[in-house]
């Protein structure tokens, strides 16, 4: 077996045109598609920039003082007033919102500009800013009354946007809505706990869910380079099968196959040699493509050893699938002494497999039937497994895809043994 493997690898390494097809072509396609289709994938880093004008019609300090003065008039003791003053400065909505905007994640995305209403409306109409956030008169006073004493209906923040459809406007609205929702929740919680005699010393809204950042699934998004590194690799690994089958045809034509038979080797050992060679060559091809793509395009960042272990396992199983395809193509080629099988496979079937398997465009964008068919092709099943593994799905999730490839391989290899000539050439 080792002799067959060594021979096939040496022949392949000395065949420049095949090497170009198996290694250089996919690499070029990964580069072209990865760059050209950036932005189509949710994981591609497209920095979102939102400029927002803040129109401050309220005076926070005056609002807090008015709130305290109001409580004095209500007859609260100085001790309570001092306590309320301490809390009011900490939980003033304006202060809290400023804390949110100072958050590292938002600071890179949102630029806050203080403007008066006139300037802000002008900037909004000229699309210099995406939204205006207005703190209305008495906002602090009314908010504190509601939040700390459950007195009155509170106040309302006003968000003005020019274009409801714009991504920036939607994202900003989401942030404010989330802030208000969290603030209301914390207020309600505090009031409920106060009634039980529990006092919350500090509010911290910095960890609130900001919302508005789109993801395709609940798992990690995929970038175009990640997608096409997998998609192109699973397509081009299929060419290993046609390459080895076409070499078998040459071996048959040049009587090398007969010479091997005359050695007394069982014909199936020749077929087994082809299968093992295909598996090893396909596995090496995948590793070379993933490694070189990782070094040049850096599609897989912040991944751990488990990620690579999973990639190796999926690659090994896909390589077995390629071994199965090689077996059938070789058996047909040798049995019927005809190169058509490998030509039709490389010239047509690989393209169909690649299309249905999602190597050109994600099957999610196509009819469901295409996706269903694609998941039953070795390349399509492997691509789904690779993508799900990259997105952080569990091993159990990718197991069905790997099971399909192994099942398919068993069927293909069994068929090839049945087709392959047993005792002598025909």
């Amino acid at each position: 077996m080792h002799s067959f493997l060594k021979k096939d690898i040496l022949i392949l390494l000395r065949d420049r045109s095949e090497l170009l097809l198996l290694l250089l072509m996919p690499f070029i396609l990964i580069a072209i598609l990865g760059f050209a289709l950036r932005g189509l994938f949710s994981g591609d880093p497209e920095p979102l920039q939102i400029s927002v004008a803040i129109v401050q019609q309220d005076n926070e300090k005056a609002g807090i003082e008015k709130f305290l003065s109001d409580q004095r008039d209500q007859g609260f003791s100085e001790e309570v007033i001092a306590e309320l003053e301490s809390v009011a400065f900490k939980v003033s909505p304006y202060t809290l919102l400023n804390q949110v905007f100072k958050d590292e994640r938002l600071r890179e995305m949102i630029t806050i500009i203080d403007m008066n209403l006139e300037e802000a409306e002008l900037a909004l109409s000229s699309e210099e800013i995406a939204a205006i956030l207005t703190f209305p008169t008495e906002f602090t006073f009314l908010s504190l009354k509601n939040m700390l004493l459950n007195d009155g209906g509170g106040s309302e923040l006003q968000v003005t946007v020019n274009d409801y459809g714009s991504l920036q406007a939607k994202v900003f609205q989401s942030i404010i809505q989330e802030f208000v929702r969290a603030l209301n929740f914390e207020t309600a919680m505090t009031q409920a706990l106060s009634e039980e005699g529990i006092v919350i010393e500090e509010w911290d809204l910095r960890d609130i869910e900001l919302g508005g950042i789109e993801t395709v699934t609940s798992k990690d998004p995929i970038t175009s380079f990640e997608y096409y590194t997998f998609a192109i690799a699973v397509m081009f690994v299929l060419y290993v099968a046609s390459t080895l089958a076409s070499k078998a045809y040459v071996e048959k034509q040049q009587q090398v196959f007969n010479r091997i038979l005359l050695s007394g080797k069982h014909p199936i050992s020749y077929l087994s040699g082809k299968i093992i060679s295909a598996i090893i060559i396909a596995f090496c091809q995948l590793l070379i493509l993933f490694t070189s793509s990782s070094l040049l395009f850096r599609p897989f960042q912040d991944v751990d050893v488990m990620f690579w272990a999973g990639i190796l396992l999926i690659s090994a199983i896909l390589s077995i699938g390629v071994g199965g395809l090689t077996a059938v193509l070789t058996a047909l080629t040798v049995r019927f002494d005809n190169e058509t099988f490998s030509s039709v496979f490389s010239g047509g079937i690989v393209t169909i497999f690649a299309f249905t398997g999602g190597s050109f465009i994600p099957v999610a964008n196509m009819a469901e039937i295409v996706s269903v068919i694609g998941d039953w092709t070795p390349n399509g099943a492997a691509l789904s497994a690779y993508l799900q593994w990259k997105q952080g799905f569990t091993f159990d999730s990718i197991l069905p895809f790997m099971g399909r490839i192994i099942g398919l391989s068993i069927v293909l290899i069994a068929s090839s043994v049945w087709i392959f000539p047993r005792r002598r050439s025909f």
Partner: protein
């Protein structure tokens, strides 16, 4: 040692080999002579167990090869017409691969590789890719690969087709040496009469899938023992003269050659004077006259009415 019994092969209703009976004793050098398409390659494919006969059998030491192909494969070396090697590998890599396929390994494999490379005179070029070899060198390395496992029988299917005279001589000398010195049994197929004459003890002549004559070279030539071949060189072609001589009662066969005419006449007959008279009648200028003893080529011509290379 090896014999065939009414060996027949039919391809899609067409009989390619029709009831061949031949035998080979240990250490013999047997020639299978016949024109292209005579059925020589089909016959040796069946003998070497690569092709199943439609009927008949091949026996090695009495055991059926058709039923048990393995019986012959271990003792047989086949040199096919094609260069059955990997052109992208070096001669050494090819030898190592086929040696391992034959079950050789380690030092014995290395020793045997160097031995066969020495036999075919390619030790110096063993690290070169086979595709960089000349046609003659490729034929020699093709032969080396068939001898790696030290076979008892070597079957060679037209091993000198399309190569230069030096390489051809080298191969013929090597085969002769292996047969005479090492006792290797050789079955040599060719449509080159002079190769078979030079190498083989006994000859089978094939045509249209049948053996039309067999025996030692002398036995075959004795078919023509009662005849002589006369070559007459002329200054140009004289179709009328040829036509006249064909009608001549004492001339068995008259054919045109590149230089003039070839006539087969009964041995000892006195026809030269009547041939000269005919030439005189057609004013043909005779440049040379040569009376020859018969060759296997003549035997084939006599038996089939065709030349070997027609």
């Amino acid at each position: 040692m090896l014999e065939t019994e009414e060996l027949q092969k039919v391809f899609k209703g067409k009989v390619a080999v029709d009831g061949i009976n031949l035998y080979m004793d240990r250490g013999e050098s047997i020639g299978l002579l016949g024109p292209n398409g005579a059925g020589k390659s089909t016959t040796i494919s069946m003998i070497s167990s690569l092709l199943k006969p439609t009927s008949g059998d091949v026996r090695l030491n009495g055991k059926s090869v058709v039923k048990n192909p393995e019986t012959i494969r271990s003792v047989l070396g086949v040199v096919p017409q094609e260069i059955a090697l990997y052109e992208e590998l070096t001669a050494y890599e090819n030898m190592k691969f086929f040696g391992r396929v034959y079950g050789l390994k380690g030092k014995s494999l290395e020793r045997r590789i160097q031995e066969v490379l020495e036999i075919v005179g390619l030790q110096e070029r063993q690290k070169d890719l086979v595709k960089t070899y000349s046609g003659g060198m490729q034929r020699r390395i093709n032969m080396a690969a068939a001898m790696l496992h030290e076979p008892e029988i070597l079957i060679m299917d037209e091993p000198t087709v399309g190569i230069d005279p030096q390489s051809r001589n080298y191969i013929l000398d090597t085969v002769r040496h292996l047969n005479e010195e090492s006792g290797l049994t050789v079955l040599y197929t060719s449509h080159y009469m002079e190769e078979v004459e030079r190498l083989c003890d006994r000859v089978y002549i094939m045509d249209h899938g049948r053996i039309i004559a067999s025996g030692t070279k002398d036995e075959l030539k004795s078919i023509l023992s009662g005849e002589e071949t006369i070559f007459i060189d002329l200054n140009r072609s004289y179709p009328e003269l040829l036509s006249d001589l064909k009608k001549h009662e004492g001339i068995l066969q008259a054919t045109e050659t590149e230089k003039g005419l070839k006539l087969i006449v009964p041995k000892g007959s006195r026809h030269l004077s009547s041939i000269f008279q005919a030439a005189e009648r057609y004013q043909a200028q005779i440049l040379n006259v040569n009376v020859q003893i018969p060759t296997l080529e003549d035997v084939f011509l006599h038996l089939t009415g065709r030349k070997l290379r027609d």
